[in-house]
């Protein structure tokens, strides 16, 4: 790799960087219209008023617990989305190409899970299954029992099932939407069915599903506070605890809303970055 080529590449990069800077400047001046400055001032005044006239003295006491709660919320979100997506791929795929005895259960799985409230599913698993397990001695003796006595496995299970069902429906559409010619071309190149799936079908379907995936992930984040109803201490549960022990109502809830806004913002930003990396002009 020659030094000259390197230098040329560097110059190109700095050109790009400069034009990007100009773009950003132009966008900022478009965005920052006079009325927006007024709105921002109003917003800052509101925030300052909230900081000065509302009660925040509870914050130092619950600081550690709140961070732990945020961590647990994020952890549940990431684990359930990852597991849910892994389940959603086969659920979507069998509905497009699978035999009837696979596609039919997958279809009804999606319909039933999407047709009932998540809160009900969560309580069904936690109270229903949870009350059934202790009746079987072999469950109590198994290595899983220490986990089955806790709440979080039920939370993870029900959120995973819910994400898998909603995302399975999305993946079904995405798999069906990949142009047939692409798959036929891949087959004509002598790729095995598995290779076609791995190299062509799955990537293109995922690209198609990505915008919806972002929305579903935000919805999943918004579903996480439900786990507080089965005694998992996420950030929402921390806020409720503050409310119950200090009788301060608005401040913890407002802070909670801000925390969720921030997490949503980060999620949306991350997915937008991911989407920007997708090669365009598909199919």
């Amino acid at each position: 790799m020659g030094a000259a080529r390197h230098a040329g590449w560097g110059a190109l990069m700095s050109d790009q960087a400069a034009s990007r800077l100009v773009d950003a400047g132009a966008r900022a001046s478009l965005w920052l219209q006079p009325h927006r400055i007024g709105l921002i001032v109003v917003g800052i005044v509101l925030v300052v008023c909230a900081a000065m006239f509302m009660r925040w003295d509870w914050l130092p006491d619950y600081y550690g617990l709140a961070l732990q709660g945020i961590w647990r919320t994020l952890w549940i979100l990431v684990v359930t989305c990852a597991l849910g997506f892994l389940l959603a791929v086969p659920i979507g795929l069998v509905q497009v190409t699978g035999p009837r005895w696979l596609s039919w259960p997958a279809y009804w799985f999606c319909t039933v899970v999407r047709g009932t409230p998540l809160l009900l599913q969560l309580w069904f698993l936690y109270y229903g299954l949870g009350s059934l397990f202790p009746q079987f001695p072999w469950v109590r003796e198994s290595f899983l029992w220490p986990y089955l006595r806790q709440a979080w496995p039920y939370a993870v299970l029900s959120l995973t099932i819910s994400y898998a069902a909603y995302e399975g429906e999305v993946m079904r559409g995405a798999f069906a939407g990949v142009a047939r010619g692409q798959l036929e071309a891949a087959r004509a190149f002598g790729m095995s069915r598995w290779k076609v799936f791995r190299r062509i079908w799955l990537p293109q379907a995922t690209y198609r599903a990505l915008p919806t995936l972002a929305g579903e992930t935000v919805l999943q984040l918004k579903a996480t506070p439900l786990v507080a109803t089965i005694t998992v201490v996420d950030i929402y549960a921390v806020a409720s605890r503050v409310r119950q022990s200090t009788f301060i109502v608005y401040e913890p809830l407002l802070l909670l809303a801000v925390v969720y806004l921030c997490i949503t913002g980060i999620l949306v930003y991350a997915f937008r970055k991911l989407e920007a990396r997708i090669p365009t002009r598909l199919g």
Partner: protein
């Protein structure tokens, strides 16, 4: 292993499912159906308020002044980013508190806000944010010529809204609005957490009293599923009706 299973089955059989779900008082079926009625009422009310806010919000976003537009953007962004549960608590506490303070300032007695009304309003505000986006998108999908033609005929904005914009956006809005209806029916379950007696809360009460968790949660799940499946049938008909006169396959 076998013993436990048989014991559990006997346990289930003893408290016979049909006794538990009987409609008259020793059974809990009546309570479940009352909860179902409440859930449907809340869903219908919240959906109605949501549509009203949605139409207003969409027009504000499309044709309003810059400040109104930004405020609406703020509203839809915040409501769609913060969990419904948090919004319900915030609006429920803040709403009842504000109304009571207002009443006291005006020299009236404090009142207890009816849970049904509070639930409907709170879910309505949440629904409004989503339907604003759906209706805005639908209005944008109307072929521009139709609106220009209406203007050229000298229609006033109100007449244009009634005769052209609303009917023409309907086929574009219906998939999204149908989805919102299904979300509304399921979001009513969240009011169980504020202690309102809708289907999920009634189910939990029944289940924890009789210890027949499985039976009751399955029954409630079946009821919710019935609402969804029934809605799907109706939605399919409405969609067919709204698409009349559109070329087949056009979206």
């Amino acid at each position: 292993m076998g013993n436990g299973l048989i014991e559990a089955l006997i346990h289930l059989a003893q408290a016979s499912v049909f006794d538990l779900l009987a409609l008259s008082p020793p059974g809990w079926g009546g309570n479940l159906l009352r909860g179902l009625t409440n859930s449907v009422l809340i869903a219908v009310g919240a959906y109605g308020i949501g549509i009203a806010i949605g139409i207003g919000g969409a027009f504000g976003k499309l044709y309003g002044g810059p400040v109104l537009r930004d405020l609406l953007e703020l509203y839809t962004t915040i409501v769609r980013a913060v969990p419904e549960l948090v919004l319900i608590l915030l609006l429920y506490f803040a709403g009842t508190d504000l109304i009571n303070r207002l009443l006291e300032a005006l020299g009236y007695q404090r009142i207890d806000i009816n849970g049904l009304v509070a639930g409907i309003c709170v879910l309505g505000i949440v629904q409004g944010a989503y339907s604003t986006e759906v209706i805005r998108g639908a209005i944008l999908s109307i072929p521009q010529g139709q609106i220009e033609a209406a203007r050229a005929f000298g229609m006033s904005p109100a007449l244009m809204l009634r005769r052209i914009t609303l009917p023409a956006m309907l086929p574009f809005a219906i998939p999204g609005m149908a989805n919102l209806w299904l979300i509304a029916t399921k979001d009513t379950a969240l009011l169980a957490i504020v202690g309102f007696n809708e289907l999920t809360q009634e189910t939990r009460t029944a289940a924890s009293t009789t210890k027949a968790y499985f039976t009751f949660f399955l029954a409630a799940g079946a009821l919710y599923l019935l609402i969804t499946l029934f809605s799907n049938v109706i939605i399919a008909r409405i969609e067919k009706w709204a698409r009349r006169g559109m070329p087949a396959g056009a979206h």
